[in-house]
């Protein structure tokens, strides 16, 4: 018997440039398990891709419906954007009792959504990151910031939670303005941000979307020199596309001092994609969690293995890095316990979402360097 996992991401639409790496991340985990060949006594795993379009709830629902009722997948790795993720969860996953692990849906609303215990996410909560970012800024002695966010639930949620935390801690947010992704020009936004002023600019956006456009325009006009980069903004692509101007900018993204991320990055490079691309690591972890939970429960029935995802992710047990999946399967098979750390140091809390450990980074001489952990 064959295990099927659906990978539902926005291969067309606004996120089309980061989804290929995400899918590749998930498929990397599957390939690793298949190479081991030991999952559930030698079952092979296959993946089916489907297009969530990121924005069109109806098309996403139809695509997910196809994966579940026609392709017969046992779990969904996805979706990417919170809007379509909710739609798929409510209209497809719950009715059919399918487990869903999203690598990138961060909307706080998902925490409280009814999910019959089927929904998990390896992306950290926006609220937590806001606090971490505040700490980093305070430690650097920064008191006034301007904030711009991509106008969707991710950006808005992050910007709001950050603004709340930062003000609480005594800082001043001079402006908290949205930008739309994929637009032609960001001069207006940068003009307003510059006028409001601030020591640094917090850009809660995506690395290859409006976020980059904003940074570029801000650098060009001399509006800001230093940028604070949350998870969606940290990526080689940013450094590659902007270059020296970014030196001195800093930020944070999920990660512990485990070497998981760098291992994953190497694995990805070997497999021919960019492992530092936004949410690629989360996607690897999402797929890995699904497979390990199956092994832990000894079943491919979602109703059964859904209850093992938390335990696999949180331990206790042996720590599992990317590339260690074969070993994890071995341990589980022998009745042992694992604590999946993975590429993003996943720790699932509460309703099954990433607890959020963060890696503080700074860009020096065009290189993203880790300067600490929070």
């Amino acid at each position: 018997q064959d295990i099927k996992i659906g990978i539902i991401l926005g291969f067309t639409g606004p996120l089309e440039s980061i989804t290929p790496a995400m899918a590749a991340g998930a498929e990397l985990a599957v390939a690793e398990v298949n190479a081991a060949g030991t999952l559930l006594d030698g079952q092979t795993v296959s993946t089916v891709r489907a297009d969530s379009t990121c924005i069109d709830a109806s098309a996403a629902t139809a695509a997910a419906e196809r994966l579940v009722t026609s392709e017969g997948v046992q779990a969904l790795m996805g979706a990417d954007c919170s809007g379509v993720t909710t739609a798929i969860l409510q209209n497809v996953a719950r009715p059919n009792g399918i487990v869903m692990v999203s690598p990138s849906a961060t909307s706080p609303a998902l925490s409280t959504a009814e999910d019959d215990g089927l929904f998990f996410r390896t992306a950290p909560s926006d609220a937590r990151q806001g606090v971490v970012m505040t700490e980093i800024l305070r430690d650097r002695g920064i008191n006034t910031v301007a904030v711009t966010y991509t106008n969707n639930d991710y950006g808005k949620g992050l910007a709001d939670s950050f603004a709340a935390a930062f003000t609480e801690a005594g800082g001043t947010v001079t402006i908290n303005a949205a930008h739309e992704d994929g637009k032609a020009d960001y001069s207006a936004e940068v003009g307003a941000l510059a006028s409001a002023g601030g020591e640094v600019l917090v850009v809660a956006g995506y690395v290859d979307q409006g976020g980059r456009g904003i940074i570029q325009a801000a650098l060009d006009t001399g509006a800001f020199d230093t940028f604070v980069l949350p998870d969606g903004m940290v990526g080689e692509a940013l450094v590659a596309n902007i270059g020296d101007g970014l030196n001195g900018s800093f930020g944070q993204y999920p990660g512990t001092d485990s070497e998981g991320a760098s291992i994953f990055a190497e694995m990805a490079a070997e497999a021919g994609f960019d492992g530092t691309s936004a949410f690629a690591a989360e996607s690897y972890d999402a797929a890995a969690l699904i497979l390990l939970a199956m092994q832990a429960s000894g079943s491919t029935d979602p109703a059964v293995f859904k209850d093992h995802i938390m335990s696999v992710a949180n331990g206790p047990g042996e720590e599992i890095m990317p590339g260690d999946l074969a070993r994890a399967i071995e341990i589980l098979k022998e009745g042992g316990e694992v604590d999946y750390v993975g590429a993003t140091a996943v720790d699932l809390i509460g309703p099954g979402e990433s607890a959020g450990n963060y890696r503080e980074i700074e860009i020096r001489d065009g290189v993203i360097e880790t300067v600490g952990f929070r």
Binding site: G13, P14, E16, S17, P20, N151, I175, A177, A178, H179, E180, G182, K183, A184, D185, S187, A188, E189, V190, G191, A192, A194, S195, A196, G197, D208, R212, G213, Q216, A217, D220, T221, G222, A223, A237, N241
Partner: protein, 336 residues
Amino acid sequence: MDLLNALVVLTNFVIVPATAYGAQLALGALGVTLIFGILRFSNFAHGDTMAFGTMIAILVTWGLQALGVSLGPLPTALLALPVAIAVTALLLLSTDRIVYRFYRKVRAAPVILVMVSLGVMFVMNALVRFGIGVNEYRFDDGARFVIDARGFREMTGLAEGLAIRTTQVITVIAAVIIVAALFWFLKNTRTGKSMRAFSDNEDLALLSGINPERVVAVTWVITAALATTAGVLYGLDKSFKAFTYFQLLLPIFASAIVGGLGNPLGAIAGGFIIAYSEITVTYAFKRFLTYILPDTLAPEGLVQLLSTDYKFAVSFTILIIVLLFKPTGLFKGQQS
């Protein structure tokens, strides 16, 4: 000094970017307006034509860069431009042959052609993604700035900086030259006039001995040139990303229409109106006012009419107001 600083702030954050963006929109709008003016339909594939042309330019640029060719302070992509235009022209001509010609023959209504162009848009969309993928690419080289902010500050001793990019200058100059040339071409050359005649009354054009296929071919070639130039200049200034080019379509159409469809001058005016309204109405005047007002009056808030969330809404509102007073656009455009 403060007055100077205020002026520099305004120039740096409003005038320079709005002018450059306006010129970018105008170049795109010229292509849309030309197709509308001659072939009488709204071409939704224009954004993707721009993307296609730019893709070719990028590929050629990479080739040139690999060979070590460069234009000094100017971007190498300018060298690649003619090749890209030629390839795009070929694509458009074959699209016309395979797709559009049939509808001309059966005298399809303009709205059918609009839908057909939507189909072409999907195909080109896919072509570009197959060709170069969905990622963001930067292909500008040469000197990025004519004046940069830090340099300006050091030079003048002002607190505020002023930055003008090479690409912005090229875009504005190109827009002015191209619109003048196009205007002159349509008004004064035999081919230009025959193009207008064809758009006005196809049957009668035929009776005057005008070869419709030639007119159409010339139109597509010019469109290819306009689209590629616009796309490359835009990509040099910002970056290339297939999805963004598709998104550009909306402001481009707005520009073409507010200026008056079918009128090259209108396209230019429309581009600037859209750009300036997007940027000025949502501009926060705090910094500007802080410089020119005495300290006691310095504003607390941002002094922003509307938040930037509404910048698109603002430009459309202005567009609608213009249309209410000038129902066929500023420069009396055509109707289908």
